[in-house]
Assembly symmetry: C2
Homo-oligomer: 263 residues x 2
């Protein structure tokens, strides 16, 4: 009898684990005439409406790394959409292409905003998403994009930039930023970051009274959250590297910010 009860419990237990799974699917959406290829993911272990999080990719484009972060967010109880900022799911294998793709978007801010907002609308339409609880995170190029969207006054509850570009051609005037919470996770040893951009960003956020955390993480180079950075750094002779401590610390800071924002 006891054995039978244990077996029954084990069965129930494993079945409910089997039912609760991260469900990701490729999605197509339009921004103007361009078709964007994103990745939408939720975890069945959570029920009902939940906050939604956009994930903006590195300069390489919408790839497995962005999807991995979206999966991680789903497991935390969010509905995540890894967006496509380049169109047609275009990705780059070489820094030269990556630089060209990212520059084309960064230098056309109205188009960047249109693409971002197309993804935002798609995310908000999802039945699992609480439309009033939306955040955006981004890596490298994508970190720069979420900060630009904050400067543009796009309504988001929170944004997080991981080794993102901090420069801009237009610092936000006080009062323009609607985002309530900002996390900037930056490598203290990042060779691509100019101190004047650190100053410019913190100054504009402070002037708008935005609650933010700027983490200048010890010893971290550019791309510190991406385990592929070591290989890519060697391959292309770039000063980028994975840094486990910085990755962990910045992810925990994001989790804490989301928990406080969406409580």
């Amino acid at each position: 009898m006891i054995l039978r009860m244990i077996l029954l419990l084990v069965t129930v237990f494993t079945t409910s684990f089997a039912l609760a799974e991260v469900k990701g699917e490729e999605v197509s959406y339009k921004s103007g005439e361009t078709t964007m290829k994103g990745y939408l993911v939720t975890d069945d272990a959570f029920t009902g409406k939940r906050p939604g999080v956009l994930v903006v990719h590195e300069w390489w484009g919408h790839n497995a790394y962005a999807r991995k972060r979206a999966d991680m967010l789903a497991k935390l109880g969010y509905t995540a959409l890894a967006v496509d900022m380049y169109g047609d799911g275009k990705t780059a294998d070489h820094p030269k292409d990556a630089g060209a793709f990212s520059a084309a978007v960064k230098n056309n801010l109205p188009e960047a905003r249109a693409r971002f907002e197309a993804a935002l609308e798609l995310l908000k339409k999802q039945p699992t998403v609480d439309q009033k609880k939306i955040a955006a995170i981004g890596y490298c190029f994508g970190g720069g994009i979420v900060l630009e969207m904050a400067r543009e006054g796009v309504e988001l509850n929170a944004v997080a930039s991981f080794h993102g570009s901090l420069g801009t051609t237009h610092r936000a005037m006080p009062g323009v930023i609607k985002v309530q919470r900002v996390l900037i996770a930056n490598g203290a040893a990042d060779k691509f970051i100019k101190p004047e951009d650190v100053a410019g960003l913190t100054g504009e956020l402070a002037a708008s009274g935005v609650a933010f955390e700027f983490l200048n993480l010890p010893g971290a180079l550019h791309s510190f959250t991406n385990p592929d950075a070591d290989m890519l750094g060697k391959k292309f002779g770039m000063p980028i590297a994975y840094n486990a401590a910085a990755d962990r610390k910045s992810w925990e800071a994001m989790k804490a910010m989301f928990a406080e924002t969406f409580k």
Copy 2:
């Protein structure tokens, strides 16, 4: 027999608790001709050499609040010295006096440095202190002082500023700052902080490659760590207030920074 064993265990338990206590004492030390009155504290629950932490008071002077923070640090396993930057343990009851006392020190940086270093030497001499592991924290005026000491190139492992002054007449040139880790806990609603000083500080730290955390804490006014701020704010019509969430978050960030720095 069992009862006797329980009683014995309870006795051993309470005795060892009774032995482990925070031991604070008033100490006098000299800076030039001036006698400074500090407060040195350790917790007997910890043995051997441990990191030392200087605590620099608010503009009110060396008072019970600075000592409370020193006691809290002792309980965390540090030897703490609440310093005296005004001389003779002088304190102010009115903002007018506090402003005059703090300005006299801030406007005479060589004297401020001499007083700070006199306390630093005293701390390093303590038998419970590991001379190679020294940090400094400060509140309000004291937060400004620990940042100025970092700019001066004073050798400390870490500094933390809580609602400290961020302005300075001399931003640090790259390479001058020796401090490895800096925490700046700032109220996002602090009326005394200028955005350009936030920019200036983060810019100079980034330029020196210093690992730092700048927390711009949501809704927090000036003096957010001090429970007396509510009463003082009312009494003198100042925009200052205690903020439990900001107090907790900033203290935890300091603990984490110290744990990483002194591991």
